[in-house]
Every structure is written in structure tokens, then in C-alpha cells.
């Protein structure tokens, strides 16, 4: 068999795959500029759905809720997750198998089980005590619980990539615990911490199911708004919000990539 033909076939398959991956997003963006209310026929370019979007109080409120939720939960998750990742690294030679289980659990568990167990848990507690009423508060709690493992694993993997001798050097220079944290670990991890914040942020914005089940009547976020709008029938307005959200994710991706290249460039410069 000819390896050149094989390679060409693979390359063609790669482009087909890229098309498959991006076509649905492109279609959403395309129809958001449609001048008529149709998801099958494109009549002409117009910005009317965007104009409608920015004058709709409900949507602006949902946007505000989404942002509050994502920023609050990401800050908490970045702090807690960084500590956890650091702990996992420092004590990786100990028998901490249960910890790995605990960290993987939120990643693997189906969203629906996740959302429903938290919903029934919070509902029962609030029925009994009045605390944890479903709303933005419970949503933040739920989001943090699935963001933490991702942050921890990202920090852990960056620490594994470091030379352990650096930790030893700190010790040899008689750095105290807090000095080591402040002058060595935090600066070294800064790119990883920033990118894990963005990762947590996109995870939060990306989530629908868990938000849906842990939300209350007052805490409608953009995905929940979109969901109820689709249930009533897709409107071009929904395409417009979706397009803006896709744009935000792409921006986050560019930032993440920039950080990755900065990180990749650094050791090379040191060599």
C-alpha cells in the first residue's frame, strides 16, 4: 500500500472532521444574521436579532446572572483547586488512591445524576431548615464542585512537569514554607493558575444541566433562558445569543493558547 496515498487520505479525513466539528457552530452564527425568522432559509444579512437582544431586559438579566455565577465560582474553584493540586503533587508518593477517586468522580459522573442529587439534597435541606434555597448560591456551590477537579489536575500536571530539584533548591536556601509558596510556587504556577481560571470559567459557561437543576426561579442564566426559548420553538434571537457565547469561548481559547505558547517558549529560552 502506498504511504503517500494513506497520508493524503488521512489529511482529507482531518478536514472532513474539522468541517463536522465547526459546521453546527457556523450555522448558528450564520442564521443569527438572517433577516427573516427561519432556520432553514437564509434571506439576507441583518442585525435585527442582535438589536432585539440588547433591548430585552430578561436576556440582559440572564447574561448578568451567568457572568456572576461564572466569575464567583471560578475564583473559588481556582483557589481551592490550586491548593488541592499542590497537595496531590507534594504527597503523590503517599497512598492517596481515594483522593484520585474523589477527584475523578465529578469528571466522570453524568451531569443529570450530578444535578439531580444536588437538587434533591438542597431541596430537602431547605425544606427542613430554610438554608440552601435553590438559586444563584446553590448554583455557585454546584459549579465549584465540578470545577475544582479540573483545576487540581491542571495544576498537578504543571507541577509534575517541573524539575523537583527546584523544590530542593528552595529548601537548601532555607526558604520557609510561606516564602517558598510566595517566591517560588506561586510565580512558577502563575500561567497555570490563570489558564485554570479560564478553564473553570468556560466549564461554568458551558454547563447547562447542573445549572438547570440547581437553579431557582430568580436565577435564570443564559443557557437556561436559551433552553426555555427552544422549548417554545427556536427564535433567531436565540441564535444571536448563542453566537455571542460561541465568540466568548473562542476568545477564551485564544487566551488559553497564548498562555500555552508562552509556557512552551520559556524553558526553551532557558536551555
Amino acid at each position: 500500500m502506498s504511504s503517500r496515498g494513506f497520508h493524503r487520505g488521512m489529511r482529507a479525513f482531518w478536514y472532513v472532521m474539522l468541517f463536522f466539528l465547526y459546521a453546527p457552530l457556523a450555522v448558528v452564527a450564520l442564521y443569527s444574521f438572517n433577516s427573516i425568522n427561519s432556520s432553514a432559509v437564509f434571506a439576507g444579512v441583518s442585525l435585527r436579532w442582535y438589536a432585539q437582544l440588547f433591548s430585552d431586559e430578561t436576556i440582559l438579566n440572564a447574561f448578568y446572572n451567568s457572568l456572576t455565577l461564572a466569575i464567583t465560582s471560578s475564583i473559588i474553584a481556582t483557589v481551592i483547586g490550586t491548593l488541592l493540586g499542590y497537595g496531590m503533587y507534594t504527597y503523590r508518593n503517599r497512598r492517596l488512591g481515594w483522593l484520585i477517586w474523589l477527584v475523578y468522580l465529578p469528571i466522570v459522573m453524568p451531569d443529570i445524576v450530578y444535578g439531580i442529587s444536588q437538587m434533591s439534597f438542597f431541596t430537602s435541606i431547605s425544606n427542613a431548615t430554610g438554608l440552601f434555597q435553590l438559586g444563584l448560591g446553590t448554583m455557585v456551590i454546584a459549579h465549584v464542585s465540578f470545577q475544582v477537579p479540573f483545576v487540581a489536575l491542571l495544576i498537578y500536571s504543571r507541577l509534575v512537569g517541573l524539575d523537583a530539584m527546584l523544590f530542593e533548591a528552595c529548601h537548601d536556601l532555607y526558604a520557609k514554607g510561606w516564602q517558598r509558596a510566595w517566591y517560588f510556587i506561586l510565580p512558577t504556577l502563575r500561567p497555570a493558575i490563570v489558564s485554570s481560571f479560564f478553564l473553570a470559567f468556560t466549564l461554568s459557561i458551558d454547563d447547562f444541566v447542573i445549572s438547570f437543576f440547581t437553579s431557582g426561579p430568580e436565577s435564570v442564566t443564559l443557557p437556561i433562558f436559551i433552553w426555555s426559548a427552544i422549548k417554545k420553538g427556536v427564535t433567531p434571537e436565540v441564535n444571536a445569543i448563542a453566537t455571542l457565547m460561541i465568540g466568548a469561548v473562542f476568545a477564551a481559547a485564544v487566551i488559553a493558547l497564548a498562555f500555552q505558547y508562552v509556557r512552551a517558549a520559556r524553558p526553551r529560552a532557558a536551555d
Binding site: L21, P24, V108, P110, S120, P149
Partner: protein, 317 residues
């Protein structure tokens, strides 16, 4: 490149630690607890406890308004198997079987598509690889609901794709490819592709080409080379990917709800319905329990594979 360094540093760290056990901070255990406890407590209180609570609900009695009451029974499981007031009906079992079938089908399709992609990325120039991986992952960063809207647009009645399918006689004219079981499978495959590409990429990156050369030298054809020299090496990644795809796919809620009609309902939808309109928490919890068991089994496999893969952190991102 980071992996070799990893092996080296881990070795150094291990010997150093065993040489001088007392050189570290005095409160070892205290330090460990201080750094990991916020995360551990958060996950235990807000995820493990609620899951345990949900599992208890599955064994409780359905009270008024769907809220669970005390006597512990197995009623919910009987109901899940189809035994209701009106005798036995296969509805719930069909849903269960359909979930398994759609999961198997979409996971297989994901494997067939992701395998060559992961290989292709490893063969690309090193500087291109992060970019290519990102290109595969970025769509999955957008909201699930938005991705489903994309497919609703593409497959809706009157869209070019639906018209094409109709002109080929695959579907009746004026009909759309959505809502349908087909649309659900497309949505699942689309949703979970990256979860298969990443672990496969991790194993392809470490592929030992000497084995392939050896197979070639022994005059094995391309198929036998693949089966004996490539496939066994990629098996850990394949299994990890299968877990990461099939477990969430099995419990999928959004895609069947939006892209499928009532006839494409999966277990996730059945469960969700019990907590909303149908109001039967124990029945819903019993369904969720099945998913939790599947999740734990999946974790078991993942842990095994994680050890073989080495840098298991890379696998999940």
C-alpha cells in the same frame, strides 16, 4: 518531552525523600490536610453526600407530590422494571435498552472517527499539535445546548441536508432528519469526540514504532501489523476514552431532549422527568442509581488505565 522529565524527577524525588525523612516541615500531616481539605470537603459535602442521599431515596416510598417518605422498599426498582398499578408494561425497559444501544452505537462511531484523527495529530509537526488538539476541543467548550441548536438548524425540515436526504429517498419529503434517533446519535458523536481524541492522542504520542518495524520485518501485512503491533499499544487510551465517552453518553439528557422526539427518550430523560412533571423521586433515584453504578465501574477502569498511561491528568482535559 515532559514525560521523560517526569520519570526522571519522580525518581530523584523518591530517593531524596527516603534518604532524609525528617528534613521536611514538622507537621507533615497537618500540612497535607491544610492544602487538600478545602477541596476534599467541598467535593464530599456537595457531591458525595448528595449522591448518597439520592441513593437512599431510591429505596424510599413515593409520597404525595413525589417527595420520598419513610418505609424503605424496593418499589422504585420494580417500577423501573415496568411493574406499575396497571400491571407490567415495557416502557421503562425499552428506555433502558435504548439508552444502552444508543450509547454503544455512538461510542463505536466516536472510536472509528477519533482513532485516525488522534494518529494524524501525532504525525503532525510538534509545533502544530497543540493547535490541532485545541481545534478538536474548542467546539466542546461551547454550551451543550448551543451545539444542539446547531444540529437542529442543520437537520431541521427544509434545510439543505434534510432535502438531500429526502431526495435520496432516506426520509419522506417535507420531513426533517430531526427529531429522530439519528439526530440523537449525531449529537452524541459530536458531543463526545474530543473525549476520545485526547486519551488516544496520549497513547499515540508514546507509540513504540520499533514494534511496527518488527512486525513489518516479519512480513506482516498492514492489517496484521495493526492488530498485533499498534492496537495493543493504544488499548489503554482506547479504554480510557471509551469510559469518558460512554458513561456521560449513557446519562445524556440535553441531546435526546432536544434532538430526539418522545420515542428517543434515554435514561437521563426518564430520570429527569421523575423529578419534574411526573414527580416520583424514588423512581428517578432508582434510575440514577444505575447511572452511579455505571460511573463507579467506569472509574475503576479509568484508574487502571490511568496507571498505564502515566500522565493521567492529560487524559481528562
Amino acid at each position: 518531552m515532559p514525560r521523560t522529565q517526569d520519570a526522571r524527577t519522580q525518581g530523584a524525588f523518591a530517593t531524596r525523600a527516603s534518604e532524609s525523612p525528617k528534613r521536611r516541615e514538622p507537621s507533615h500531616f497537618g500540612h497535607l490536610m491544610a492544602v487538600i481539605s478545602p477541596g476534599v470537603i467541598w467535593i464530599v459535602v456537595f457531591l458525595v453526600l448528595p449522591s448518597a442521599y439520592l441513593m437512599t431515596i431510591a429505596f424510599m416510598t413515593n409520597g404525595t407530590y413525589g417527595l420520598p417518605r419513610m418505609p424503605l422498599t424496593l418499589e422504585a426498582f420494580k417500577e423501573l422494571a415496568g411493574f406499575g398499578f396497571l400491571g407490567w408494561s415495557p416502557g421503562n425497559l425499552y428506555t433502558l435498552i435504548r439508552s444502552i444501544w444508543q450509547t454503544v452505537l455512538s461510542t463505536s462511531l466516536v472510536i472509528v472517527m477519533a482513532y485516525p484523527i488522534a494518529y494524524y495529530i501525532t504525525r503532525a509537526p510538534a509545533r502544530m499539535r497543540p493547535l490541532m488538539l485545541l481545534a478538536v476541543v474548542v467546539p466542546s467548550w461551547t454550551n451543550q445546548v448551543i451545539r444542539a441548536i446547531g444540529w437542529m438548524n442543520i437537520l431541521s425540515p427544509g434545510s439543505p441536508v434534510s432535502d438531500l436526504a429526502a431526495s435520496m429517498g432516506l426520509i419522506p419529503a417535507q420531513m426533517g432528519l430531526f427529531p429522530s434517533k439519528f439526530a440523537v446519535v449525531v449529537g452524541l458523536v459530536y458531543n463526545f469526540m474530543p473525549f476520545m481524541v485526547l486519551p488516544l492522542y496520549a497513547v499515540f504520542e508514546k507509540l513504540d514504532y520499533a514494534q511496527i518495524d518488527a512486525a513489518r520485518d516479519l512480513r506482516a501485512g498492514p492489517i496484521r501489523t495493526f492488530i498485533h503491533a499498534v492496537l495493543p499499544q493504544t488499548l489503554p487510551g482506547l479504554l480510557a476514552g471509551t469510559v469518558l465517552v460512554s458513561i456521560p453518553a449513557f446519562g445524556m439528557y440535553v441531546i435526546p431532549e432536544l434532538l430526539g422526539g418522545g420515542k428517543s427518550m434515554m435514561l437521563g430523560n426518564l430520570v429527569a422527568r421523575q423529578f419534574a412533571a411526573a414527580s416520583n423521586w424514588p423512581l428517578g433515584a432508582a434510575g440514577a442509581l444505575i447511572m452511579i453504578i455505571a460511573t463507579l465501574l467506569g472509574l475503576l477502569v479509568l484508574r487502571r488505565m490511568g496507571k498505564k498511561l502515566g500522565g493521567d491528568s492529560q487524559v481528562v482535559l
